[in-house]
Structure formats: C-alpha cells, structure tokens
C-alpha cells in the first residue's frame, strides 16, 4: 500500500466536499486511482473527459503513481 494525496477541483471538489485527502491505495496507475476515488465520491465523468496531473504536471492516465505523490483530478474543462 502507498499513501497518496488526492486533490479535487471545481465540481469534483464540490461533490467530494473536500479539497484534498490522503488515501492509502494498492493501485498502480492514475486511471485505477481515479476509479477508486470515483466510487468513493460518486464522480460520474469518464476519464476520457477528465485530466490528471501528478505533482503539478499534466500526466497520462496510465502514469504510475508513487508513495507521496499528489494526484490532481481535473473534471471536464471549460475555458474561454
């Protein structure tokens, strides 16, 4: 198990009711970690509409997450 910080933005933050939390997980990738937090907080957006950043850098959903990482979950964007 590793300890990872999950951070939530915009509608994810509102749905989760918190900005960030430290979670213990046995998953390997950002995609699997999203599946876990989506169940935890009832997120319904599929990954293809969302983005993930690891330690403030945009990352692919198949990136491996490591002990101590901050994983940022970005719901569908709407700039402009």
């Amino acid at each position: 198990m590793i300890q990872v910080t999950a951070k939530y933005f915009a509608v994810f933050r509102e749905q989760a009711g918190i900005e960030a939390e430290v979670l213990s997980t046995s998953v390997e990738t950002a995609r699997e970690f999203y599946a876990e937090v989506a169940i935890l907080h009832n997120f319904s957006d599929p990954v293809m509409n969302c983005k993930v950043a690891i330690n403030d850098e945009l990352a692919g959903w198949d990136s491996v997450i490591s002990e101590g990482d901050e994983v940022l979950f970005f719901p569908p964007v709407a700039g402009g």
């Binding site: 933005f9 915009a10 509608v11 509102e14 509409n49 983005k51 950043a53 403030d56 850098e57 945009l58 940022l72 970005f74 719901p75 569908p76 964007v77 709407a78 700039g79 402009g80």
Partner: protein, 144 residues
Amino acid sequence: MSSPVFKIASEPMSITSLNQELRDESAGAYASFEGWVRNLNDSKVVISLEYEAHTAVATSEGEKILVEAIEKFELIAARSFHRIGHLQIGDCAVWVGVSAMHRGPAFEGCRYIIDELKHRLPIWKKEYYLNGNSSWINCQTGNT
C-alpha cells in the same frame, strides 16, 4: 521571435499594452480574439460567472500552446491571458493576440490558440443564473 507569455489573471489586463508587446518591424498582420461573458447560455439567463483554474498547470500548458502555434504558423509573437474569479456580463474572460508577417497565418494561429486553450487548460466555469441556480459548465455543453 519574442518568447510567448501566457498569464492566468485575477484582475483585468490592459489589452492595449499586450498588443504593443507583439510589435515587430517585420509584422504586417495582427489578429486577436476576446471571449466576453454573455448573458445567455443554453437559453438560460446568466447574471455572472466564476472561473477557477489550477494556475501552475494552466500557465505551463498555456505557454506550450503558444509555442506550438508560433512554430506551426510561423508567428512573430503570441500572447494570451485567461481571467479567473468572479466576472460580470461583458467582461473579457480570455484574450489571444498574435502577430505575423501576413494575415493568413495570423488568423489561423489565433484560432488554433483559442481552440486549444478551451480544451486543454485546467479552467472551470460556474454560471450563476437569474433564477438563483448555478451550474458548472463543461466544454461539451454550450460555449463561446
């Protein structure tokens, strides 16, 4: 070629001075885009809206988009900002300005930048409606 600058701005910016930063003796064409907060979206009356961003990621992704456009369209210079915070109807939410030798690349480069910004920046918009409701918008739904 001057280095591109993308800014997440919590206050209004001077577009006149940003325009100046794009100037170059070889530049014959300047194209710009502004996204203004409008009073209707999906036939709902909007009274104001709130933009939230992840500033660090949005800034680096914004700069990446400007560099891509400069290379792809041989632009002389490109600048852009996106506002965050609470905006009112008519406020400028996003600005893109580019200079080029000729007008074709200026228009195409400017269009490329705003299209990419809208899809790639971690920025979220919450609309506040006349009826007291509010809602997070995503770029699959109605948009400028």
